[in-house]
């Protein structure tokens, strides 16, 4: 069981780091949102799942509470993260930021 927790923590750390690096590496707002949202959500799923496994494995009142609360935190994160990034992308586009080197921009044509 320990090995499973280590693997999950490692995957979570790697993908969270990938999100942070993507934030630095990509050229404009939209591609940064791509990298940051996808990678941090995926990494957080694995990191928090490691905590959930650890909580259920330890068992009892405290372990169970830890696992259930971590699961609820994961649920809220899954719900709010894509919605927040969607709102940011929409706000950025309405605020007049154009995608970098875009081959097509249908949303701009609409206005």
């Amino acid at each position: 069981m320990n090995v499973l927790i280590y693997i999950f923590l490692a995957i979570g750390a790697v993908f969270n780091g990938l999100g942070a690096v993507a934030l630095l590496r990509f050229p404009d707002v939209y591609t940064r949102i791509h990298g940051a949202t996808k990678c941090t959500t995926f990494g957080s799923i694995f990191s928090i799942l490691a905590v959930v496994i650890y909580g259920f494995w330890r068992g009892g009142g405290q372990g169970g509470t830890l696992a259930v609360h971590a699961l609820i935190a994961l649920l809220f994160l899954l719900l709010t993260n894509p919605t927040g990034s969607h709102a940011l992308a929409r706000g950025a586009h309405r605020g007049g930021i154009r995608p970098f080197r875009a081959v097509v921009d249908r949303l701009e044509e609409k206005r």
Binding site: F15, L18, V21, A22, R25, F26, P27, D28, Y30, T31, I33, H34, G35, T37, K38, C39, T41, F42, G61, Q62, G64, T65, V68, H69, I72, P82, T83, S85, H86, A89, R90, H93, P99, F100, R101, A102, V103, V104, D105, R106, L107, E108, K110
Partner: protein, 178 residues
């Protein structure tokens, strides 16, 4: 008769919202005492709080209908969708982003397509799925026509079909939410 029907609908909305709030509260305070898994004070506090939450939130949450989501077979479908195709697509999306972070090869653009979804829930589900899956990010949704404007990191065609952008997700969203 009509008035009483509307009143019954209000009561049902309140009951559903309060029940959901109570369930959330009870999950949060698991393992606190002797009655089942809960203590008496937590049960009383949960009942009072969820009644208040139902009164405040029900008129906002059910403003545009949407009782369809209460059918249990949709929850089962949603669960299988989450652990099956959605999770696979998400894993693929992350490897895709890793590849693009390393090589820096992008061809971005904002494309438009119309998956033909009608309910708010279906649109929300599809938009969130698109954001978390390979190379796509929902920028805007036109509520009147149902058009999706999607930032695509690797544009393959200028007038794409829904299937080209996001695979099987529109049909899943239709199955779950409509």
């Amino acid at each position: 008769m009509l008035y009483s029907l509307a009143a019954m609908l209000r009561a049902a909305e309140w009951a559903v919202t309060a029940a959901f709030a109570l369930a959330t509260y009870l999950v949060l305070v698991l393992w606190t005492g002797g009655i089942g898994l809960w203590s008496l004070s937590e049960l009383i506090a949960g009942a009072v709080l969820s009644a208040i939450v139902g009164m405040v939130a029900a008129p906002i949450l059910w403003e545009r209908g949407g009782f369809r989501i209460l059918q249990p077979h949709r929850w089962v479908l949603f669960f299988f969708y989450l652990v099956g195709p959605f999770f696979l697509a998400m894993a693929r999306a992350n490897l895709d982003v890793a590849f693009r972070v390393i090589t820096g090869r992008i061809r971005p653009g904002i494309v438009r397509f119309n998956p033909g979804l009608k309910t708010d829930l279906g649109k929300t589900l599809l938009a969130n799925s698109i954001t978390l899956t390979p190379g796509t990010l929902t920028v805007d949704v036109d509520d009147a026509t149902g058009d999706f404007y999607v930032h695509w990191i690797n544009v393959k065609s200028l007038e794409p079909k829904p299937e080209e952008v996001c695979g099987p997700f529109p049909s899943w969203a239709r199955r779950i939410a409509e």
